[in-house]
């Protein structure tokens, strides 16, 4: 893959997809977040050679492998630390820290706090699934009190941390929240975070389908989510609900949900992303007592750490000149340590004694372990936890079991890449189709030309259609599917990219079919009606 400067060539999502096999569980919410990141970055427009993803340890922390940018899979909880160093050493980089509820709030809790407090120019994305996924299902610092997990068989006794409140306590200058199952909202939130200069902290509610699959159902369910989510917009009233009929009012210091039928619009809170007290109130509103606040909760400008530091260094250098590290070492209070035979002998003796002591202790421990009874491990209970909850409708089943070939794809009309635009358009009109597939000499798929290309790039722009070849106006290397993939994959590509047509190819990349929005909707509609 080309790594040259990409300033003038517009980037596409493909540029950000790495060649690594993604290792998350099938159905994990991380996939949706990855897809939105790969969609948002080309729009943000920072070249990939200036983009870095740094993570710690955990499921989410595999993220850097899957982005075709610079990346560091670092030490548990320490991603903000490495990122801080990088931001100072190279302030031109766009740095994203990917962390989770465990990595960010337990293992690396204090690193996170201090990166935020310093307002380093980082985008910190915390995937909150309220469980340790990678280590297979122990409760995390955000697990709810009472949650039954592998490490809390009788329920969690601790109080969960609220990531937004943690960020607020560290004086975060940008705080936002989104959810994996709402792609448009997620992409928009990521873009807003990327625009912020300073630390942008984003909490994403993420579904761990294996170990905590029901944590966010009320918020991700498309049918009810608008009743459970308060979408924030700076300067707008805090109104929510499927019918936009509920609002948030302040009663003293306490927010309350009111019906707009009973309350004047003037009494409803207006979101002000610059207000710290308001941000604290929004952060403290916990679902299900309140709707979950999503969007930009706080956004203020404060000096960014690297810029401040660099300017201090510059001032110091102007006043006292560029320093010399060697001189600094030799400057004052220098001791020389001499080697002495006796010292060496003494320490060697100590080492031997020490080792012996340790091995004695080890023996003790192992003999104890063999007699220690195994208690508290209820095999049946553990097996139970291993099984994810199955509650799958026929429809969901069909999305993953039926393959795209069931859609009875149309035979595609193909054109050689040397065909003229005039001929291509005549063919499309003759067959009454919205797109043609473009192939090379060996009939391999090299591009797709659709009505969209004709409207956006040809009509009113190209004078003589006969003089131009389709290869110059098509979308090259289109995403294509194999016919044995599930319908859900087609839906995924169509929804993530808005592709109206998807080519199907065989193993040799020869086009064998084409499917459209309409085919998918029509099929699902028909099949389900028959049932």
């Amino acid at each position: 893959m080309s790594t040259g400067a990409t300033n003038d060539v517009p980037l596409t999502r493909k540029d950000f997809i790495s060649d690594q096999t993604v290792r998350w569980c099938p159905g994990c919410g991380d996939y949706a977040i990855l897809a939105q990141m790969q969609r948002a970055l080309p729009e943000i427009g920072v070249p990939k050679e200036r983009t870095v993803f740094i993570s710690g340890i955990g499921c989410s922390s595999r993220f850097p492998y899957y982005m075709n940018t610079y990346g560091i899979h670092s030490i548990h909880g320490r991603a903000p630390t490495l990122a801080t160093g990088l931001a100072i050493a190279n302030p031109d980089l766009s740095i994203w820290v990917i962390t989770g509820d465990g990595d960010g709030l337990s293992i690396g809790g204090n690193h996170l706090l201090h990166a935020i407090r310093r307002n380093v120019n980082l985008k910190i994305i915390l995937f909150n699934n309220r469980i340790y996924g990678l280590t297979k299902g122990q409760y995390s610092p955000t697990s709810r009190t009472g949650a039954v997990t592998k490490s809390s068989p009788m329920g969690v006794m601790e109080q969960p941390l609220n990531p937004i409140a943690v960020a607020m306590a560290a004086e975060a200058t940008f705080v936002a929240r989104s959810i994996d199952s709402h792609p448009q909202h997620l992409a928009a939130t990521l873009k807003q975070a990327s625009d912020h200069l300073g630390t942008a902290f984003v909490e994403i509610y993420q579904n761990c389908v294996i170990f905590n699959p029901t944590e966010w159902t009320e918020l991700s369910d498309r049918k009810n989510r608008d009743d459970s989510i308060l979408y924030l917009e700076h300067g707008k009233h805090m109104i929510f609900g499927k019918n936009q009929d509920k609002g948030i009012r302040l009663n003293g210091f306490t927010p309350e949900v009111v019906s707009l039928d009973d309350v004047d619009l003037d009494d409803i809170l207006v979101h002000d992303a610059t207000s710290k007290p308001l941000a604290s109130i929004l952060g403290s509103m916990e679902f299900p007592d309140y709707p979950a606040a999503m969007g930009v909760i706080r956004d203020v400008r404060k000096p960014d750490y690297a810029a401040e530091l660099i300017s201090q260094v510059r001032t110091a250098q102007e006043e006292r000149g560029v320093g010399d590290l060697n001189q600094l070492y030799l400057a004052a209070d220098l001791w020389t340590v001499h080697t002495r035979k006796e010292v060496e002998c003494a320490s060697a003796r100590e080492r031997r004694d020490g080792e012996a002591a340790i091995s004695v202790r080890r023996l003790d421990a192992s003999s104890q372990a063999s007699v220690m009874p195994i208690t508290g491990l209820d095999e049946e209970y553990i097996d139970d936890l291993d099984k994810p909850e199955e509650k799958i409708s026929d429809f969901q089943d069909l999305l993953v079991t039926d393959t795209v070939s069931a859609l009875e794809p149309n035979i595609p009309i193909t054109m050689s890449e040397h065909s003229s635009l005039a001929r291509t358009i005549r063919q499309m009109n003759r067959h009454n189709i919205g797109c043609v597939l473009v192939t090379d000499e060996e009939d391999r798929l090299v591009g797709i030309f659709t009505e969209w290309d004709a409207l956006m790039r040809v009509v009113g722009v190209v004078d003589d259609l006969a003089q131009q070849t389709v290869a110059d106006y098509m979308t090259p290397e289109p995403l294509a599917l194999k016919a044995d993939l599930p319908i859900a994959q087609a839906l995924n590509l169509m929804s993530v990219h808005g592709f109206r047509h998807l080519p199907l190819v065989d193993d040799n990349n020869h086009p064998i079919g084409i499917i459209s929005f309409r085919d998918v909707v029509g099929y699902l509609n028909d099949v389900l009606e028959k049932e």
Partner: protein, 164 residues
């Protein structure tokens, strides 16, 4: 649960419907296309604004002009660009109100082979353009585990559910 029943209970105004461009009746096809290209929209609604300037809220919808019309009537027909859009638009398109159910809207589209169905409220305000994409998006949002949470490259997919 069938798709039909689901869509019956959703109103079109609750779907993520598509946007559109807008021009006044009498606009040249050249300018109409320029507008659509600038907006990145494949559908242009034509309204009967009399005054020049920004569109008025209550201008009536008189026609719809889409990429399909571009292909069939404009792109390879010489001399079309300076004609008014009225000559190539589809006049008086069928519309639905924001409270129509998604199922009804979809049926209307399928029966008439429409790709686009403008959403207009009782005072004539243009609210959006319903397409099949809105249904695709709905399904994706409704079944995120099955649809959204899939790898970028369908060929590379882990088959074990064991974390990270």
């Amino acid at each position: 649960m069938s798709l039909q029943t689901e869509l019956k209970s959703e109103r079109v105004s609750h779907l993520a419907v598509s946007g559109f461009s807008r021009v006044s009746v009498g606009t040249s096809i050249r300018n109409t296309l320029a507008q659509m290209q600038a907006d990145g929209q494949v559908v242009c609604l034509v309204t009967d604004d009399k005054q020049v300037g920004p569109p008025s809220e209550t201008a009536q919808l008189v026609g719809i002009f889409t990429e399909r019309d571009v292909m069939r009537k404009v792109i390879d027909v010489p001399g079309m660009l300076d004609k008014p859009v009225d000559e190539v638009m589809t006049p008086h398109p069928i519309t639905v109100g924001p409270d129509a159910s998604a199922a009804d809207a979809l049926r209307l589209m399928d029966e008439n082979h429409f790709r686009n169905l403008p959403i207009v409220d009782t005072s004539g305000r243009l609210l959006g353009n319903m397409t099949h994409q809105a249904i695709i998006q709905y399904l994706a949002d409704r079944y995120p585990v099955e649809v959204l949470n899939r790898p970028s490259d369908p060929e590379r997919f882990p088959h074990k559910a064991e974390g990270g």
